[in-house]
Symmetry: C2
């Protein structure tokens, strides 16, 4: 690690106990991961078969049959194993571990003698390995396998999967590289870069770092590898609808990565790539690469991100479009893309602990990600609209990809296992440290063990941050420990944090605040208690004036949550509601609503059609406006009360 | 003709001389029709070849080669001939007539001995005639041939093309019908219905009426013909992207036409169908059919039409979607669909002279249709957006079909020849009559000869209606003539018409106004002058509150013209402009602007980003708003000053 970076607290040293998040993590453990196991084994009635385990068994010689599924079907098994590993990190589960070990054995048998591992090519297109990197996801699947292997080794101490992954990575290193005779190619869907960095960190083997650097450096270079391989393989195309081999920006291969200044193409690919780049830059101190990460970050968060932390303004290619183009109803804003944005944010935070990174991480986490999964853990959003009119989605094909209710498991489901592995590893996102400074990025109730000042310090966090903006920290240390507690002041509270230490108000100097973190350095005593609270003002958020889809509109935010109007509370035709800058907003906790939600009420005006008549357009319209009370709920909780309209942005009179 | 209907003035009895329209008609005569002739003969440099004349020559045995083009390529030649016929109706042109006669000879030779005529099936799929009505446009092409034939016979008195058409129609009558052994099918793209009615009117042959009735009655009946023929031909599909054989509402075949209450599917198909239905209902007095026409009309104009007279809310299938779903930026609103709406409106007007039909006809004509063609007659809009941001159209695929500039001729260009035939026959849309009442539907400068009260009355109309809302009528009659002049009061003027007769103000009784027409019955003297003028108030139009895309917005209209903001006048980011209900709107004629345009100026507020900073969203935004003068031009004139943003609907503060 380059000396400027912060480090994560190892996952096994973190126990989450949080009013808001524990339930989601429990869902992942008790429902999502077991359910996904059934799905991977084609035992979910009514769901499209996954065939992923079968593919592996066939490749392992244990069963007979043909490959079935997407070219990246293997990655589902790896993501499942990665989530399993994080769960095992948090709590032992011998039954689950045994199942995982069995799968790992099958994976081992499916691995080819030279280390290659991919059931699609092994079973369906033997001899065509590495002939279509632009489209065929071999390196992407390898990356997910490596991530699973690293997580599983950390969690269980077992090296079997790690050995498989290393053998595969070593094989990849014999195929790709700048040396003569090796392919000058790189992955069509970025993932292996960040995975190789993990593998490097866990093994210390420099070749993995070098391979990662090769892939990062090679992307977008001329002559263009995708064009060359396209010609070489005779112009065959795997995905007919997307010109992956030619639309170079789709996989961010239109320019060398250091020259990319705007977030282009498939959103998940971009943020996965940036995650790998940031990790590599952190390790190598490559300033130009770090600068490229910063530029892409800035472009995303200042010009191409939804207020919910969603990214990807169009369905075609699940892609970014251009600055300030943020349609609320035709967008994609894939759950996986927001998860990738969180990965990217975390790596940037590690490089450079600035609250702006954590702010975006929090925005994506508390809104798009948690919205992505239903409270039963079995239904998921892939697309995360900010405005939905269900009957229109059904009929107007411009909205065909937008679903007004969470969907069941897909045959190849990218988002559900991604949610699972993120939430199962949420403990890694709360803190990071550098030397004797502990940065608190997220206010999530938890207990950690941290080695500092020559001893193990236990730090307990009690939080009702989500709804009330409070967190309490308690230090447990055998002897007094000198360290700095750096507490993030979220962007939304505009610096108005109130801190108490041991019950006494703690007034901090502006000099103590660096990049959005209040730093408190002390010789902490066992039992010391630090309270921090943020004013939970209801915020009337506006979009940058260049966003044509939000002008004249307001979005309501309170704490980390963005709010929305739903038909269940407000009736249909949500667009007829208008808020006013002058009207009061009130809030209360409705404990009976979906297990408890902080609700916001607003005096609003509703334009009615009562006196309008049958004309479609008129110049002498008498719009009867009446005063109504609008009710808003947090965005993440939408679509839990039947099919109905939803809208985040509401018209506002000034 | 059923006794309630009005009749058109024959085209050869109408001469248009209008400040606004004459130039467009001249363009059709001098540019569009000659240019299309070059295009049909593949002589337009840089344009995709049409091959339409070559296809006919090959089918006629005059040339060797293969069919090339769309399955409906023949219809381009027919539409051209129809436009030529209307031009010949207005003024002799021996050179043009000679060229047309030559084409007609080729068509005659291409006709098969049994009367069948379609170069696609004759050359490319012989033996597959009538096996794919859902997709393959044979009856559509037949319809256009018939329309051309009827027009050409009327204009020139020559029967050659009419004989060809009758022979083809007779052949179709042997193939389709309720008798045993005949196909129970109907056209996948409606057109032949209205054409058969024209053929019936010109020939008086009842079999054409019966065939039309068969097609109208058969549509949507069960068992479903499209499904049957699909199975019968082994499930082949002609257009892969559209499920024409199965998406029955696409071609309005989801229900018997009398049971259809909403405008569904492909917009052009729907309005062509309605035109035929209305014509049939007028002739037969079929009340249920007329009622179906009224229902579909009402659904379109009160729930599914743009303020510009555009129809078709989505690009996919160029189709209607659902009530009040009128996106301004992703819609299709094809020029041809608005032309079809004008056809439908005219037939409804003939059935039932109500100003509401003429209002819609005028709206479509003065806005979408005339916008469809550039001032050079060589560039055309197929898609007519109400809001355009050119850089977004280039990158965000949700807008890929929206072009910010008029396009050159396509290989198979539907809209340009449709504009040509409509404008060349505009004289048929101005008046209609019943007994001794002459209805004035459009205020277009013209001179007509009308047989009434036992003599030929010449009625001259001088109009500067488009810009100033005035029209003057002068009666020329050898002897006094008793008749009723019914003058339409446009919906936009809210009944505030001022009439002078012989220079004296004429006060009319409310009883004289029927369905939006002031009826003045007199013994008119030679030289009588009637002036009518309408207040050209600048109207602030609002959309029905159920339209989510127009709520909180205003569209400016003056006279028949809907206005728009353009970047050329107002700079980029048009969405940052806001009008106020309280601010004054002024207007002036800018004679230097695109040959002269009435311009509207509005005091407006522009939201600037100067003090905003780099955040994408903020709760403490200081939006600097400054007062600016917005300039609006008529919608039809947009996209003539380079590539730029355009918007019809403007945010409005109340």
């Amino acid at each position: 690690m380059a000396h400027n970076s912060t480090s994560s607290i190892p996952l096994e040293k973190v126990r989450i106990q949080d009013e808001f998040w524990s339930e989601y993590i429990r869902l992942v453990r008790d429902v999502v991961v077991p359910y996904q196991w059934e799905a991977l084994n084609d035992r979910v009635p009514g769901a499209e078969p996954s065939h992923a385990i079968r593919n592996l068994k066939i490749a392992a010689g244990e069963e007979q049959g043909d490959f079935y599924g997407m070219v990246f079907q293997d990655s589902d098994v790896s993501k499942w194993l990665e989530a399993v590993a994080y769960l095992l990190d948090s709590a032992p589960n011998p039954d689950l571990e045994r199942v995982a070990d069995e799968v790992i054995e099958i994976i081992g048998k499916a691995q080819q003698p030279d280390g290659y591992l991919n059931t699609y090519f092994t079973l369906k297109e033997p001899g065509k390995r590495w002939t279509n990197l632009a489209e065929c996801h071999e390196l992407y699947c390898a990356g997910h396998l490596i991530e699973a292997a690293v997580a599983y080794a950390k969690a269980t101490g077992k090296r079997r999967l790690l050995d498989i992954a290393c053998k595969f990575a070593d094989h990849i290193g014999t195929v790709f590289g700048s040396e003569p005779g090796k392919l000058k190619g790189y992955d069509g869907h970025q993932e292996i870069e960040l995975a190789l960095m993990k593998l490097y960190h866990v093994t210390g083997k420099d070749s993995y770092l070098q391979l990662c650097r090769f892939f990062v450096d090679q992307r977008g270079m001329l002559p263009h590898f995708y064009e060359d391989e396209f010609k070489k393989r005779g112009g065959t195309v795997h995905f007919k609808d997307l010109a992956m081999s030619h639309d170079l920006s789709y996989s961010q291969a239109h320019l060398p990565v250091r020259k990319q200044e705007t977030a282009e193409g498939h959103a998940v690919r971009l943020v996965y790539m940036c995650t790998g780049m940031a990790e590599l830059a952190a390790e190598t101190g490559d300033a130009a690469l770090l600068e490229a990460c910063r530029k892409l970050w800035t472009n995303i968060v200042t010009k191409r991100m939804y207020i919910t932390g969603g990214i990807g303004s169009m369905a075609h290619g699940e892609s970014f479009t251009l600055d300030y183009d943020l349609p609320n109803d035709t967008m994609y804003a894939e759950t996986c893309a927001s998860i990738g944005l969180i990965f990217f944010a975390r790596r940037m935070l590690q490089l450079d602990p600035r609250a702006e990174y954590a702010d975006v991480m929090e925005r994506a986490l508390y809104n798009t990600v948690v919205s992505g999964m239903s409270k039963d853990g079995k239904h998921f959003f892939y697309v995360n609209p900010l405005e939905v009119k269900p009957d229109v989605c059904k009929i107007n094909k411009a909205y065909a990809h937008v679903k007004p209710v969470r969907q069941g498991w897909f045959g190849c489901a990218c988002c559900p296992p991604n949610i699972a592995r993120l939430l199962a590893s949420l403990g890694q996102y709360i803190y990071s440290f550098k030397d004797d400074t502990l940065y608190t990025h997220l206010y999530v109730g938890s207990r950690i063990e941290w080695e500092t000042d020559g001893q193990t310090v236990n730090l307990e966090q009690l939080s009702d941050y989500a709804w009330n903006g409070n967190a309490m920290f308690r230090v447990n240390a055998a002897k007094p420990a000198k360290f700095t507690l750096a507490l993030r002041i979220p962007g939304w509270c505009k610096g108005e944090a109130v801190i108490h230490i041991g019950g006494y108000k703690y007034t901090y100097d502006p000099n103590q605040v660096t990049d959005g973190y209040v730093k408190i350095t002390r010789l902490w005593q066992d039992g010391d208690v630090i309270d921090i609270s943020f004013p939970m003002t209801i915020l009337r958020m506006k979009g940058h004036p260049s966003i044509r889809q939000t002008i004249g509109k307001v979005a309501i935010q309170r704490g980390p949550f963005v709010y929305c109007l739903e038909e269940a509370d407000n009736g249909p035709e949500l667009h007829t509601l208008q808020l006013s800058e002058r009207n009061e907003l009130t809030t209360y906790f409705d404990s009976g609503l979906m297990g408890g939600l902080q609700v916001i009420q607003a005096e609003a005006i509703r334009t009615g059609a009562e006196d309008w008549g049958s004309d479609l357009y008129r110049s002498d319209a008498i719009s009867r406006s009446k005063n109504v009370t609008a009710r808003l709920i947090p965005y993440f909780a939408w679509a839990n009360r039947g099919v109905g309209e939803m809208s985040v942005w509401v018209r506002e009179s000034t």
